[in-house]
């Protein structure tokens, strides 16, 4: 009755269902939708309207976040395509990738223990470039080749990278305190 759950986020935001994204269009649609559903527009109305508004505004924010972040957008596209990324259980990755990850991880750990802020920032930057490259591959797999199995594998790689970047952020934050 209340929320139309069959409507996917791409439809909700009036965007094509693909990995490549027009960020300014997403943002404009987000603002437009929030200006219709945000709780501030319903503060003077009865509770039923307030409740609906909160549900909708929450959903619109969730959709915005999902579409804005490349990793989440890719996961969402796979989910819509009915591909089970089995992200928690299927951790069979290629040995080369795992080796590479271990090396990154060791470098981060060393820099963190030595308190080398610059080294950490360097690693963060290199990782960012690497992530951009991997995302380029993902765009081809999803939007051109429609090879969802390969895309699911790339998504798992991106998750590793994402987690590592997050750890660097945390390490930098801790060093600053």
């Amino acid at each position: 009755m209340s929320i139309d759950l069959t409507q996917d986020y791409f439809t909700l935001f009036g965007l094509p269902r693909q990995f490549a994204l027009d960020e300014s269009a997403l943002e404009a649609a987000w603002h437009e939708l929030q200006s219709q559903v945000h709780p501030d527009r319903y503060a003077h109305l009865p509770d039923v309207d307030k409740r609906l508004s909160m549900q909708w505004a929450t959903r619109v924010n969730e959709g915005f976040r999902t579409l804005k972040k490349p990793l989440e957008r890719a996961q969402y596209l796979l989910e819509l395509a009915g591909v089970d990324t089995a992200l928690e259980t299927n951790t069979v990755m290629s040995p080369e990738f795992l080796m590479e990850q271990m090396e990154w991880r060791e470098a981060v750990e060393e820099a963190r223990e030595a308190g080398e802020v610059e080294e950490l920032e360097q690693l963060h930057h290199r990782l960012q470039l690497h992530a951009r490259e991997v995302r380029g591959g993902l765009a081809r797999q999803l939007d051109e080749a429609h090879d969802y199995a390969a895309a699911a594998d790339t998504v798992r790689r991106l998750m590793f990278i994402d987690k590592l970047q997050h750890e660097i952020d945390e390490a930098l934050l801790a060093l600053e305190e």
Partner: protein, 622 residues
């Protein structure tokens, strides 16, 4: 048949009632109330023309209560019963409050929020704050000559859930319906942005009496989007006073002062600090009760030196907020200075140096928050006009999470998420046959639970016995537009559902609030029943008005039967309103709400469809 009303061109078809609403800046040192009058936000003054109300409350032995200037006068002579800077205690335990040793109060460290023993009994910070809010409410009602539909109350952006809940509870006690809790820097950005038609990325540097906030906002075509916020909920102008107070004690060569003399010296320190914003040096002459005399002079440079570390302390949050927003200092178009403490020249210098530009000081740093809150209150109360087509998108300042094995925090909602937001996380049982699970909700950025703020603990019981790992317990977090959290937990796999709602452990229980409300009403000589009746009548009127307006606008979405059913509910409710039974009116309101449930959902759907349809061609195609 009803007569048709013809409106003047440019006017709303509905004879528009201006609803009285106010914005309140509930500050550590001073509080203000403002409203929008004839389209312009103004601060409301008391009968002597002063708009700032010192946030000072005195409980007198005869049972009366002084708030504001009158209480200030008694600070030194009745220090124990005269509470200043109560905001520092909101949602806090005794161990969280800095400098308690120099405070003249008689604290009671009960579990949860700290309480103060006064000549009128034990008072919670919520009750004390409610006195300030009640004074401002009365001022507004007298000035506007009517009852308020509600207030927007500002809170530091870096306030956690317990502090926000405490503020909302204080408003409830003061008889003020809360339209929204609004972050102080966001309120300032609204006032600044609307006045100056600003576009681009702005930083708001807000150093108040007891709190520091730094928010980064993007202003574009009427949307105020908070990109990130950071701060220190226990750093403010008070700390500069305290530093100067310690310096005076150090230099003056006097015996450790009594509580009253300490209060005298603290007041003198504040005066000297304020003087140093406009003069190169300030005298500190105090005659103490002890018979001793203090005769000192403090220069601007000395003061800057002794408080340098405090200024530096504000730059940490500035860096973090910029990093979270993914911006460099030179990408910020302007820095808006808010809070009386930003008058200090060495603070303005430090900010100018960091951002590489002079900060914006062309607005009154004491009033800008209240004015922004009033603008927001005016819109929320339903007085929105076409030119008020602006929107705030604010964020949650601190991550929310749950304790997991080993005392570690599992983040459920990350900081700087746009509100409102909901997130769920699944957990499972640890032992075979486990039928209960304990949850600990925390807020903060640190990895260890012991370094975060504990918000609430609760247990989910009645999980059907299963092997370890088979149960699926879904814990849902919802943060509303006020930044307030509710948590529920549910066992999914068995179809057996159980859920629980959480109230922060640092807050007051519903029973405590009900008790305080009752005694407050008795104190004011009001009749509880009459008040309840009036409240329900006002609410019924509001709901009927909103429903009729909705039918007028979107009646096409209703079938004839549905429309008749809604109209019947309205007629019933009108009849109930004429009676004296507030419970019957309440049930009439509920019945009307049920009757309009589907209609409301359809209206929402259609407005969402229209939102995108109208813009696709000209704006989204680039």
């Amino acid at each position: 048949m009803a007569l048709l009303q013809i409106a003047e061109p440019g006017m709303s078809a509905e004879p528009h009632k201006h609803r009285l609403a106010v914005g309140i800046d509930l500050g550590t040192t001073n509080s203000l109330v403002a409203t929008v009058r004839n389209g312009i936000a103004v601060c409301l003054a008391d009968e002597t023309g002063r708009s700032m109300l010192p946030s000072v409350v005195r409980y007198r032995a005869d049972g009366s209560i002084d708030v504001g200037h009158k209480a200030v006068a008694a600070q030194a002579t009745d220090a124990k019963n005269t509470i200043v800077s109560v905001k520092r205690f909101m949602g806090r335990g005794l161990k969280d409050v800095a400098h308690v040793e120099t405070m003249p109060y008689d604290f009671e460290d009960s579990t949860g929020m700290v309480r103060l023993r006064t000549v009128q009994g034990v008072k919670s910070p919520v009750e004390i704050s409610a006195e300030i809010l009640r004074t401002l409410r009365r001022r507004a009602e007298a000035s506007l000559a009517g009852e308020l539909v509600g207030a927007v109350i500002t809170v530091p952006a870096y306030f956690d859930d317990a502090q926000r809940q405490a503020t909302k509870d204080a408003a409830t006690l003061a008889g003020l319906p809360v339209l929204r809790l609004l972050n102080e820097p966001t309120a300032a950005a609204v006032a600044y942005g609307l006045d100056n038609a600003a576009e681009g990325v702005y930083a708001v540097y807000d150093l108040g009496g007891g709190t520091f906030d730094l928010s980064i906002l993007k202003l574009s075509r009427g949307v105020f989007e908070v990109l990130s916020t950071n701060g220190d909920a226990a750093l403010g102008g008070d700390d500069f006073d305290h530093r100067l107070f310690c310096w005076i004690l150090d230099k003056a060569d006097i015996a450790p002062p009594s509580m009253e003399d300490a209060r005298r010296l603290q007041m003198k320190a504040r005066e000297a600090k304020e003087l140093l914003s406009s003069c190169e040096e300030a005298p500190v002459h105090v005659a103490l009760r002890s018979g001793e005399e203090v005769n000192l002079v403090v220069t601007r440079d000395e003061f800057a030196d002794m408080t340098r570390h405090l200024v530096q302390k504000t730059l940490g949050p500035v860096r973090k907020a910029l990093r979270d927003a993914g911006l460099a200092p030179d990408e910020v178009k302007g820095v808006v200075m808010v809070g009386g403490a930003t008058r200090m020249p060495h603070i303005q210098r430090a900010v100018a140096e960091y951002f590489g530009q002079e900060p914006l000081t062309n607005l009154d740093p004491d009033k800008v928050v209240a004015l922004g809150a009033a603008m927001q209150a005016n819109v929320l109360a339903g007085n929105r006009k076409d030119e008020d087509d602006w929107l705030l998108l604010d964020v949650i300042p601190l991550s929310l999470g749950l304790e997991t094995m080993g005392g570690l925090t599992e983040k459920v909602i990350p900081r700087n998420s746009t509100l409102p937001i909901a997130r769920a996380q699944e957990f499972t049982t640890f032992k075979d046959g486990q039928t209960a699970m304990a949850f600990h909700v925390v807020q903060g950025e640190r990895e260890l639970v012991s370094d975060c703020r504990s918000l609430a603990r609760f247990e989910l019981r009645g999980i059907p016995p299963m092997v370890a790992g088979a149960a699926r317990i879904r814990v849902s977090f919802q943060v509303d537009a006020d930044g307030l959290l509710s948590v529920s937990a549910r066992e999914m796999s068995s179809g057996v559902e159980a859920s629980v709602l959480v109230k922060p452990s640092y807050g007051l229980t519903d029973d405590e609030i009900a008790g305080m409300l009752k005694s407050g009403v008795e104190h004011a000589g009001d009749d509880m029943l009459a008040r309840a009746l009036r409240e329900q009548q006002v609410e019924a009127e509001r709901v009927i008005e909103a429903t009729e307006h909705a039918i007028e606008q979107d009646g096409a979405l209703l079938s004839a039967d549905e429309r008749a059913a809604i109209e019947k509910s309205i007629t019933n409710l009108r009849a109930l309103c004429a009676g004296q039974d507030h419970r019957a009116i309440k049930s009439g309101i509920d019945a009307l709400s049920r009757a309009t449930d589907d209609f409301a959902a359809r209206r929402m759907d259609s407005s969402i469809r229209n939102a995108l349809a109208g813009h696709k061609v000209d704006e989204f195609e680039t």
